[in-house]
């Protein structure tokens, strides 16, 4: 049980870290730039919200299978298979939780008062300064919410990680899959404990999200 929990935790941490780096430029692009294919990009990012996880898992598996281009490149560089590996699960998790990271950041960036951005322009701040000194501090709460949601969502994954990871004990068997197997094997007390831990993690993470949201609202940050 502990092993599966540790894998879930690692997966959630790595996925969240990658998502924070990836989602901010994406959110910036979608909020402030108009370009061809913006709607398509937005739809692709939002797809995991409505797509059955097994469908996403299936396509990711096809994409990273050993005989696919990505799979072959990965094999030649790292000398290991991307499918049914921890790295493969990270790749799938990043895609699966992308909307949970991008959308809060997009909302936070959208809420930055226009006057602050114009002030940054007229005061001669360059793009890097505007991002670091104005946008990021203003969107700080959105970034925290994005991190909490990405983490919680990844901890709760089932279908995608099962398809892509294959539930290999000690490698890709995460807590949610371990719970399913415990119930199947009627290990009631262990299942009860693991379910409680997963429930607690989700509860704490969502509490964090709601607290941040309430604080932002009260302080009028970004208003």
């Amino acid at each position: 049980m502990l092993e599966a929990l540790m894998i879930s935790l690692q997966l959630a941490l790595v996925t969240t870290a990658i998502l924070l780096l990836l989602a901010l430029p994406l959110a910036y692009l979608l909020t402030f730039k108009s370009f061809k294919g913006r709607t398509v990009l937005e739809v692709i990012i939002a797809l995991p919200l409505v797509l059955p996880p097994t469908v996403l898992g299936y396509y990711v598996l096809m994409m990273i299978a050993p005989d696919s281009t990505t799979g072959r490149i990965w094999q030649s560089v790292f000398d290991s298979s991307l499918a049914f590996s921890f790295s493969g699960m990270v790749f799938a998790s990043v895609l699966y939780s992308l909307p949970f990271a991008v959308q809060p950041m997009q909302q936070a960036l959208r809420a930055i008062p226009h006057s602050w951005l114009e002030m940054a322009q007229t005061q001669g701040l360059n793009l890097k300064q505007t991002l670091l000194d104005v946008m990021l501090p203003a969107a700080k709460d959105g970034v925290l919410v994005a991190a909490a949601l990405s983490f919680a969502h990844t901890m709760g994954e089932f279908g995608v990680v099962l398809m892509v990871g294959g539930s290999i004990p000690g490698e890709t068997k995460v807590a949610s899959i371990a719970l399913f197997e415990m119930v199947e094997m009627q290990q009631q007390s262990e299942a009860w404990m693991l379910a409680l831990i997963l429930l607690a993690v989700s509860f704490v993470m969502l509490s964090v999200v709601y607290t941040i949201n309430r604080q932002s609202l009260n302080m009028g940050v970004g208003k």
Partner: protein, 220 residues
Amino acid sequence: MNRIQITIRRDTFDLQMDTSFADEFIIISGENGAGKTTVLRCLAGLEQPQGQIVVMGKVWLDSSAEFVLSPGRRRAGCVWTDAALLPWLNVEKNILLGVKKIDEHWLTRLAEQLEITVLMQRKPQMLSTGEAQRVALARAICRKPAALLLDEPFSAQAPAIRVRLRETLKSIQAELKIPVVMVSHDSEDANVLGQQHWRMREGKLLTEILYTGIRQEMQA
């Protein structure tokens, strides 16, 4: 000489402006919706009109050559009706936003003149509207800008401090020798500060009054 020759089409009106001005104090007045703020925004580079803007010998806009200088490169100090202070920075750091080389002496003097010395370490949330407005003025002036564009910068000030602020702005303008374009509804601003007075209506310059000659005459 500076020159502004611009046209911009809006839903409610077309703005047209064609005039020259020296490095002096210009007051813009007019009814709501006359286009006063739009003129300032065009000068600041936040709107893209057609035409030409030249300030202090530097071309800011020349739409015939498809040339637009970015707002940052214009180095115009701006104060809008929204002070736009960043709440996570204290007053001093807000003032120093975009300042590349800090001139401590200049900053101290500016803070004294704008009566914000005691506020320097406070967060914007702790300021009154009038104080925030003076901080925004300090931020606009601190960079020693190439021009000052002020949209009703005294609107939240008490009458007594307004009198002192006029003198301060007048001396700063004389010291920096830059054009200051200021939107104001207060006739006293025009009387005390205005070396040129642009009265606008429905996007057009209605009258242009030059005060310099009259004052000189009166002094003589």
